[in-house]
């Protein structure tokens, strides 16, 4: 590498590094610094507060319980679908990842409609058995873990399924050839080889559950977790305490990350087999029927939240009180969304903010991934850390950092007034989705032969032409996939929004919450359906981009 190339690297890298330091590192340092604004005062306050103790413990308990609950659902389902053939398998496979398509808040309210105190299933069982009270209450740790298991098992399922697909069938055959029983093979060969997939997905669930906000916020009742405590402290104006809580939440996440890395430290092998075992059909007729019935129940359980949201979206607001199912149906909810400016506003807000954030993600993450993959220079490691950092910081912590930093105009300290403006939410979405987009683009670029860039230059192509004709086409699958994921996450974003929104730029998720609070279930559900349709639309657009590729 020549000195002029080194200089070019820095010229390209510096704006990206500066942006990420300014938007990601600076706010979080501001939070940590803020927590010490009166010495150890806020920290003493935190340690002395029973509510905060409870919040910390509960957050960690929920995170760990969610990991186990997701593993308990995801692993068996992956094995069942990956290794066995039975009637209904295709249908089950098709809906198995459906929960991931529900924006977080929508999943939560769907559960409310189904299993809440006045939910359809709850009421139906109450009626059926003539109970005086609801058979259960959807609150507390159990309810939160229940919702988490539904939305987060998908990570486990996808990781373990992929692991099973790559699993070299000859390993299993070798083990049985050496005389190992089915149980021994599972215990000594299959499970150890799947551990990386299990560990990777468990970490994802842990990080998501630890920072989870929607479920505790809606179902928590009196329950405290760190993410909701942060918002409470902020609303009460106790910013110092909010800084301490944010720091503790972020540190817990980093500690969890480090713990997982440490547990996974010994792994040195990768699964790179020719392909998985062919699926076996279940021989016993009875087991086959039982499996199919089980599969049918799981399919219904998976689809029910979606169906419920659609059903309620047609319910007349205020009509559904004590009945099992909403009694009156109407198109009114949808008509009002499209005709009343105030109700239409959140939709344009969410779409435009998601598009802005995603566009910024695509540009910044492309440059970062390009530098990380193709350029050897001193700033490379720093860039890698910067783009991955937001992943380790819970969304509430990111949002609070932004709230604490960009609440004033002070160019000397790099502060710009963004809180209360339109731009604060796109910035928050941009930060949250940076790791996702960057890693998608990175993996596309890693598949590209590095000498293609040299070849283009050698043929006389300018830097711009090399980018346009060689590098960007190579990055395109990652740009499309990463852009889709980022746009989907941004359009339904709730956790950072709830900390930072204003009435003027309120996104769909905040409007859903407001309608729910006003007991306008129909309108809330109509927004949710619209959100699902938006996600669907974006998926179709992304797919058409991908097809044009070939």
């Amino acid at each position: 590498m020549t000195s002029s190339q080194r200089r070019t690297n820095w010229v390209i890298a510096l704006p990206v590094i500066a942006l990420l330091v300014w938007a990601v590192v600076y706010p979080n340092i501001a939070v940590i610094v803020g927590s010490f604004e009166n010495g150890l005062g806020h920290w003493r306050e935190f340690w002395a507060s029973p509510a905060d103790h409870e919040a910390l413990t509960t957050s960690i308990v929920i995170a760990i319980a969610s990991v186990f609950a997701s593993l308990a659902v995801g692993v068996p389902l992956a094995f069942l679908l990956g290794r066995f053939e039975f009637p209904g398998r295709r249908l089950l496979r098709a809906v198995a990842t459906l929960p991931a398509a529900l924006p977080p808040l929508v999943g939560v309210i769907a559960f409310l409609f189904l299993y809440g105190e006045s939910g359809v299933i709850t009421r139906a069982i109450q009626r059926l058995f003539n109970m005086a009270e609801a058979p259960w209450q959807l609150r507390g740790v159990g309810a939160i873990v229940f919702v988490h298991a539904y939305t987060m098992y998908v990570y486990v399922f996808l990781f373990v399924s992929a692991g099973l697909e790559r699993f070299d069938a000859s390993l299993d055959e070798a083990a049985s050839g050496l005389g190992a029983s089915t149980w021994q093979r599972l215990r000594r060969v299959t499970i150890p080889l799947l551990m990386p997939a299990v560990a990777g997905s468990a970490l994802l669930v842990f990080m998501n559950a630890l920072g989870s906000f929607s479920a505790p916020y809606i179902f928590g009742g009196g329950l405290r977790v760190l993410s909701t405590q942060i918002l409470n402290s902020k609303i009460n104006g106790a910013m110092g305490l909010a800084y301490v809580e944010t720091t503790v939440l972020a540190l817990s996440a980093v500690a969890g990350l480090a713990l997982f890395r440490w547990l996974d430290r010994k792994r040195k092998y990768t699964l790179a087999g020719k392909g998985g075992q062919p699926r076996r059909s279940i021989k016993s007729k009875r087991v086959q029927i039982l499996t199919s019935i089980g599969a049918a129940i799981v399919v219904i359980a998976l689809v029910l939240p979606h169906l419920m949201v659609i059903l309620v979206s047609f319910a007349r607001d205020g009509s559904w009180t004590t009945q099992v199912l909403p009694p009156e149906y109407t198109f009114e909810n949808y008509r009002r969304l499209f005709s009343e400016a105030e109700l239409w506003r959140p939709i344009t807000n969410s779409v435009s903010m998601a598009l802005i954030a995603t566009a910024a993600n695509l540009v910044v993450c492309f440059v970062a991934a390009y530098l990380i993959v193709f350029r050897r220079f001193a700033g490379r490691r720093l860039l890698e850390i910067l783009v991955a950092l937001p992943w380790a910081i819970p969304a509430t912590a990111i949002a609070l950092g932004l709230a604490a930093t960009f609440n004033q105009n002070n160019p000397a300290t790099g502060r710009v007034l963004l809180v209360g403006t339109f731009w604060i939410l796109p910035l928050a979405y941009f930060i949250r989705d940076t790791p996702l987009v960057a890693s998608a683009v990175e993996s596309s670029l890693r598949q590209m032969d590095a000498s293609l860039e040299d070849a283009a230059r050698g043929l006389g192509a300018s830097w711009l032409m090399t980018m346009r004709r060689v590098i960007i086409p190579a990055a395109r699958p990652g740009l499309v996939a990463g852009g889709l994921l980022a746009a989907v996450a941004a359009v339904g974003e709730f956790v950072a929004s709830v900390v930072l929104y204003t009435h003027a730029n309120r996104p769909i998720s905040m409007e859903i919450l407001a309608q729910l609070r006003a007991l306008a279930f129909g309108t809330a559900a109509a927004y949710s359906v619209l959100l699902i349709l938006l996600v669907l639309l974006m998926t179709l657009v992304a797919r058409s981009f991908e097809e044009r590729l070939v």
């Binding site: 000498s451 040299d454 070849a455 300018s462 032409m465 004709r469």
Partner: protein
């Protein structure tokens, strides 16, 4: 086998020269004071084991790297710091570096596109270039649908269509299977000569170099050990390292007497005619003689004035059999023989044919 450089006077292109090129990576000196020149229409092979600095040298010639010392000139003009996109060289990469998302003809036309050639013209030229490498009508095909040999031809067409001022090839044959490889050697040599510009190619395979190149620069640890025709390197190696790397043969201690040298093995002394390297002193202390398999003969049993030994290994090589014979004093030689009747462990005697035998100074092996 030497082909005289066929300079084409109508072509505006000068010699490509590297002068005193040095390139360090930290403490490691990858290329150390390397100089050579490639004339228009000449084919020079940079030969060396991996880590010898040949790829770094090629990248410096192409402009992908800038040397710490020395300069690169083309037709006398210093181009050391001219970036690759402005050098106008054609380069064929080891794995071809064909753009996977473009068709064959768009790959070939890419360099013309960069030069602002109109769409119609560049496609016409691209198709002509494809035809010249024997790929008529393949323009619309996808890169993934090509065989290794076809990809290599596309890479060559892409490098040729821009009418390069020099051609650089990085291990152009290493990805081909052996049969195809031999066929491609002749094609490559013919096509490169036809272009009439300096052509520099890197290979670790001396057979490729012998078959294609007009001259060879042998590199080791960043130094040029010798630069000359394949015959020079084989028949008059500059030193022991070159003799050991190029061709097969035993290198045995000898006493240099000027026009001849004495070799004593197992008490049997023979005085043999020698060929001396250029610039060698009149007498080399610590001299070694290079004995190629085809400069020795072997007979069964004990011969008069012959070195005695024992067959340790035999290898049938078409018309001849190559015997590996262990002589006394720990010397092992290879002998090419038309007689196929000797077996392992047979006692044999080995004598030198008429020579002359290359003599080199000892040094590191």
């Amino acid at each position: 086998m030497t082909a005289a450089p066929q300079a084409r006077p109508d072509k505006e292109s000068g010699a490509l020269a590297l002068e005193g090129i040095t390139r360090r990576f930290g403490d490691f000196t990858a290329v150390d004071d390397v100089s050579f020149q490639v004339g228009p229409g000449e084919l020079l092979a940079l030969v060396g084991a991996s880590g010898s600095g040949k790829t770094t040298t090629l990248r410096i010639a192409a402009g992908y790297d800038v040397p710490d010392a020395g300069r690169v000139t083309l037709g006398g003009n210093d181009i050391t710091r001219v970036p690759p996109e402005r050098r106008g060289f054609g380069m064929v990469f080891q794995h071809y570096a064909l753009f996977p998302h473009m068709s064959v003809e768009h790959n070939v036309a890419f360099g013309l596109e960069a030069r602002g050639v109109s769409k119609v013209d560049r496609l016409i030229k691209a198709r002509a270039a494809l035809a010249s490498v024997g790929l008529e009508g393949a323009g619309a095909r996808a890169i993934q649908s090509l065989s290794g040999g076809e990809q290599q031809r596309v890479a060559l067409a892409r490098a040729l269509v821009i009418e390069p001022k020099a051609l650089l090839l990085d291990e152009p044959l290493s990805n081909l299977d052996p049969t195809l490889r031999e066929a491609m050697r002749d094609d490559l040599r013919r096509m490169l000569h036809r272009v009439g510009v300096p052509a520099l190619f890197v290979t670790h395979d001396q057979e490729d170099a012998f078959a294609i190149a007009d001259r060879i620069a042998l590199l080791r640890r960043g130094h040029v050990l010798q630069c000359g025709t394949p015959e020079d390197l084989y028949n008059a190696p500059a030193n022991r390292e070159v003799a050991a790397f190029i061709g097969r043969g035993a290198i045995v201690p000898a006493v240099d007497k000027g026009a001849t040298a004495e070799v004593t093995i197992g008490g049997v002394k023979r005085e043999l005619p020698v060929r001396r390297p250029k610039d060698a002193p009149a007498k080399i202390d610590n001299a070694f003689l290079v004995m190629r398999p085809n400069s020795l003969e072997m007979s069964k049993g004990a011969g008069v004035f012959a070195w005695r030994g024992r067959v340790v290994n035999r290898r049938f090589a078409g018309g001849v059999v190559v015997y590996r014979v262990e002589l006394s004093d720990g010397v092992t030689v290879e002998v090419e023989s038309h007689a196929a009747d000797a077996r392992e462990n047979d006692a044999v005697s080995v004598s030198p044919l008429k020579g002359p035998f290359p003599v080199v100074a000892g040094g590191e092996k």
